[in-house]
């Protein structure tokens, strides 16, 4: 299990990274390497060039405005877990971060890497969807932004064009009274989730969102979940959502519905 041959570059600026990506051959971006590393070793990924983003200072930056928190792509899960990143979600971000895989993975794995890899079972995929985060994308032509719900297109598939990469995420600021819930079911601690339920209720901002994640594809988002969770949890409605997404396995359905129910309870709904 050793990787095939590849070239390696470690640019210092996002512009240089974009230029390298635009060059010839198949390039992959390296951040924490917690998924890409094993994929290289298993030779599931065979890039000509690895562009290591971890020495670009701007990708580790944090920016705060009154509306949102912007987290650079190369910020690690551990930094979020440890409170080195300010929180605007009444504890949701650090709580989710602290339960990603194992600490060794969290020390290196990054929020941008996880979202670019787009494994449906990854915590940030469901979390940033329920948070209604915005993805900041950098390309040779500059920056653009898309909502998380439009960013992930499918399993390991995201809305990055040729030569583009994820530069940062913008997380909307919760109001003080906002409540959240997050429940994931794993076979054992540190494994990928089999089901994720995530809920954000923020009446002050008019937000009531719910997500069923760790499906076979993009998370199932209910952007207005008032009917689903507003008057207690509507298990039948959750089941109907799974029908619509053609999730038919009885065990998986039971897990998804239960994960969302538990998240709903945690969110005080």
């Amino acid at each position: 299990m050793k990787p095939g041959p590849f070239d390696y570059a470690r640019p210092a600026t996002v512009e240089r990274a974009a230029a390298l990506l635009a060059g010839s051959g198949f390039a992959k971006l390296l951040s924490g390497g917690q998924s890409l590393g094993p994929m290289l070793n298993l030779r599931l990924a065979r890039p000509d060039l690895l562009v290591d983003l971890t020495h670009i200072a701007s990708l580790k930056e944090i920016r705060e405005t009154k509306d949102f928190l912007e987290i650079g792509a190369c910020v690690t899960h551990a930094n979020i877990e440890d409170g080195l990143v300010p929180d605007c979600t009444n504890g949701m971000l650090p709580s989710v971060a602290s339960n990603i895989a194992y600490r060794a993975v969290r020390n290196r794995g990054t929020i941008g890497g996880s979202l670019s890899h787009a494994d449906p079972a990854a915590d940030w995929v469901s979390t940033l969807t329920v948070l209604d985060a915005e993805i900041v994308i950098r390309g040779a032509k500059g920056q653009r932004r898309v909502p998380m719900a439009n960013y992930m297109l499918g399993t390991f598939e995201v809305a990055l064009e040729e030569g583009e990469f994820l530069e940062a995420v913008r997380v909307p600021r919760f109001s003080k009274s906002a409540r959240w819930g997050y429940y994931k079911f794993c076979r054992k601690a540190g494994e990928f989730a089999e089901a994720i339920g995530a809920v954000v209720r923020d009446p002050e901002r008019g937000v009531c969102r719910a997500v069923m994640g760790a499906t076979h594809s993009t998370p199932i988002l209910v952007a207005d979940a008032t009917a689903l969770i507003g008057q207690g949890f509507d298990a039948a409605a959750a089941g109907a959502l799974l029908d619509r997404h053609e999730i038919t396995d009885a065990y998986e359905r039971q897990l998804h519905v239960e994960a969302l129910r538990r998240a709903t309870v945690q969110a005080g709904a």
Partner: protein, 787 residues
């Protein structure tokens, strides 16, 4: 220092800190991957992507010719063969490199080398192989059916061996008030020592010898097997097992890779190294544990066990692996299924079935993990029918202490012990009434509490008579050990067994200390090297403390006699007047230290009289216990679980082990063995499974798919000891190494069933995954609706 102090401090029974931990804890262990020789090349294998196929040809790109070898190049290399003397056994021939036909995914098709492993893998990936794919056998029950694809065509079927133990079930069955029948399955598992396997091989021109380092448990057996395949004399092969990071049975096998790397080193005249990666370990190496049972227990109305009838099938994989053979597992099943119980009639038919999977090897506990599960599930079933506590059913059936030693229904000779007392202590420690009260109260989070138990005995250190009966290539005889003094009063102990986590560098030093009184700090235990140690079948079957421990004691006693004879000369007294112990030879009017005797013998022989005993102070001695039918340690496991009936998740809330390993040489090390074993048993019970698709493809090729227990999955385990000496061994010690891994699946599945029984649900399969638990509950709900 007083005699008692030394004995309590460092001999048999002391909780001595492990000598070897000094290097392990400092990261100074020397494993295969730490060995780098000048000019060494790295090996990668091109492995079969198919489970069953004919090999039509291998195309090697022009630029890699000379760096790739196939079976066609390996003229004269013989296949690995592990026969069994059991009547009806069909042998298989396992080539190191595939010759005509591949029988499981991962079989080596070509050996490739380069300066680095990545480059070797590049070369391996560049080969083009022409296959004719054949239908595969991926399920042992289907493999038994007529018309199944044949692995070894000339057999006419896929049965390595069918065996039958008969008894008069019918006369018991007709009057038995209770009959409990179950179909029980255990998963195919992959053993997963932290260190995988690995080989470094080089040809030593000076010695005319192949030196092969291998992460193995039985260097002498590997040497014998390798000599057979490569056509070399024993003098031409030296096997060294350096520090080895866990074995569990996984490293008790002659590897295709050892044969191929040994051959390659001779062919190219350079040192070669192969390090197994985790994908190879999961998909291309030996598997273990896959059993299927149809089993029926008969009992009286009060729950007294009367008879047991079973049909057991073991998935042996594609080949009979050297040296344990494809049949050890099923032979064990038939002989140990009755467990620690006494009952009237027993019948068991077993099948060892060839399938298109990696060969199986005995894994810690060997067949006991499966038979304990099958037996203990039946006993819980009987308890439910009889309306009594599961432990009460067991107390009625366990062999009582007054019957010890006891020959059970399959003629296993239980040496000693108080099985009922062991169970009673577990019942008390887990506090059955408190658990029952908690169950009644219910949990605020809706989880269901369950209590489960298992009790079993473990035959260990079984010797010549047992293995001669199985007739496999390896039959243990007298275990040998060498004890020799060094001129500075140090003691070298040389043993043919191999320590790969058992702490033998400490415990064998404790044994020597017990006999001679020499401080363990001055005792060096040498092991794992055929060039330096006496022949031995190696480390397996919980045998080292009994066999090598007995051999070390025997050698040290003889050494003591010789030291006494020299010491008597130095003390100018008759040998009848001296005693040895406490590190010295004591006479009527003075004493001389063993160190002084050694110094005089080697460095100042002029100080010795001419008539001194010329035998020297280096002794090799052989040892067998008074009976070689094995020691029987035993243990009761009791566990409390919380089952989430919605997600199927299982949490272990409490875990108790009551263990009787006879006299414990180092109780701290035994505790460690039990902790580790239980962790592995939890893996068997809840997590570990290698599934295959219909084409014979292994579906868990990384540790993200093959789940192993981690630190968060293993609860804090409470261990209680009993110490009933074996009447047959040197100090009364018994083999204990495998015990911890045997009891957990039975105890945990019984606990899960205890929790979900109010829902009408039951599970009879390991691992008891969340999906299986949920599906069992759903099936029960459906059945209720229909009713």
């Amino acid at each position: 220092m007083a005699d008692g102090d030394i004995k309590e401090g460092k001999g048999v029974g002391a909780r001595l800190i492990r000598k070897e931990d000094d290097r392990y804890m400092r990261g100074r262990g020397q494993y295969i991957a730490d060995i780098k020789l000048p000019g060494m090349v790295e090996v990668a294998f091109h492995r079969s992507p198919l489970a069953h196929a004919r090999l039509r040809g291998v195309t090697i790109p022009e630029e890699h010719r000379g760096s790739v070898f196939t079976a066609a190049d390996m003229v004269g290399v013989k296949p690995m063969r592990a026969v069994s003397g059991l009547p009806g056994f069909k042998p298989s021939e396992q080539p190191a490199i595939v010759t005509e036909k591949v029988r499981h995914v991962g079989e080596p098709v070509a050996i490739c080398f380069a300066e680095g492993r990545a480059e070797a893998e590049d070369i391996a990936a560049s080969l083009i192989v022409d296959w004719e794919e054949l239908p595969a056998v991926s399920d042992m029950l289907k493999g038994r059916e007529p018309g199944a694809p044949l692995l070894h065509e000339h057999w006419g079927d896929n049965i390595f061996l069918e065996s039958f133990v008969d008894g008069d079930i019918e006369s018991i069955a007709k009057d038995a008030a209770i009959k409990v029948t179950r179909e029980i399955r255990t998963a195919r598992q992959c053993m997963a020592p932290i260190e995988g396997r690995g080989v470094v091989a080089w040809w030593d021109n000076r010695l005319n010898q192949l030196t092969l380092y291998s992460a193995c448990q039985m260097p002498h057996i590997i040497r014998t097997g390798l000599c057979g395949c490569l056509g070399l004399d024993h003098a031409q092969v030296r096997i060294i097992a350096p520090d080895v990071g866990g074995g569990f049975g996984y490293k008790g096998i002659l590897l295709a890779e050892e044969v191929a790397c040994g051959w390659l080193a001779m062919k190219i005249g350079r040192p070669v190294r192969w390090i197994e990666d985790r994908r190879e370990a999961l998909t291309a190496a030996a598997n273990c544990r896959e059993h299927h049972y149809f089993i029926t227990g008969y009992a009286a109305a009060d729950g007294t066990l009367l008879a047991l009838e079973a049909e057991a099938t073991v998935d042996s994989g594609a080949y009979s692996a050297y040296p344990f053979s494809a049949c050890l597992e099923a032979a064990q099943v038939a002989s140990i299924l009755p467990g620690p119980y006494d009952f009237k009639a027993y019948r068991c038919r077993t099948y060892s079935v060839a399938t298109n999977k990696c060969p199986i090897l005995p894994y810690r506990g060997v067949a006991r993990t499966g038979v304990c599960l099958a037996m203990e599930l039946i006993l819980d079933g009987i308890a439910v029918e009889a309306g009594i506590e599961p432990y009460e059913v067991r107390l009625k059936a366990l062999v009582p202490p007054e019957k010890m030693p006891f020959d059970n229904i399959t003629k296993k000779h239980f040496d000693s012990g108080d099985y009922p007392e062991c169970l009673k202590r577990a019942v008390a420690a887990i506090d059955v009434p408190a658990v029952r009260a908690r169950q009644k109260r219910g949990e605020p989070d809706g989880r269901l509490i369950g209590l489960g138990m298992s009790i079993f005995c473990e035959q260990g250190s079984h010797g010549t008579s047992v293995y001669a009966g199985w007739g496999i290539p390896m039959v243990p005889g007298h275990e040998q050990a060498q004890a020799r003094m060094t001129p500075d009063g140090g003691l070298e102990i040389r043993v043919g067994v191999q320590s790969h986590g058992q702490g033998l560098e400490t415990t064998l030093a404790q044994v020597a200390n017990e006999v001679l009184g020499i401080d363990p700090a001055k005792i060096q235990v040498v092991h794992g090297d055929t060039g330096m140690t006496p022949y031995s079948t190696g480390t397996w079957g919980s045998r080292c403390m009994v066999m090598a421990g007995g051999a070390v004691a025997t050698a040290c006693k003889e050494l003591g006699k010789r030291l006494g004879r020299i010491g008597a000369k130095l003390l100018q007294t008759d040998v009848a007047n001296v005693k040895i112990g406490n590190g010295e030879v004591v006479g009527p009017s003075g004493s001389v230290s063993i160190a002084e005797i050694a110094r005089v013998w080697y460095l100042r022989p002029q100080d010795l009289p001419a008539d001194v005993d010329p035998g020297g102070i280096e002794v090799t001695a052989g040892y067998k216990p008074q009976r070689d039918s094995g020691t029987f340690s035993y243990a009761a496991h009791a566990v409390v679980v919380a089952v989430d009936p919605v997600t199927g998740g299982v949490e272990i809330l409490d875990y108790v082990v009551v263990e009787d390993g006879g006299v414990l040489v180092n109780p701290m090390i035994v505790d460690g063995q039990v902790y580790g074993g239980v962790a592995q048993g939890i893996g068997t019970a809840l997590l570990e499974e290698m599934p295959f698709d219909a084409a014979g493809q292994p579906l868990a090729s990384t540790l993200a798919d093959y789940l192993l227990p981690g630190s968060t999955d293993v609860p804090s385990i409470r261990i209680l000891h009993m110490e009933t000496p074996s009447p047959y061994t040197e100090f009364g010690q018994k083999g204990i190494g495998e015990s911890g891994a045997i009891g957990p699946p039975a105890a945990i599945v019984n606990a899960i069933n205890d929790a979900i029984r109010p829902l009408g649900a039951e599970i009879n399969q390991v691992p008891a995954t969340p999906r299986r638990v949920v599906e069992a509950i759903a099936a029960a709900a459906r059945a209720k609706k229909v009713a």
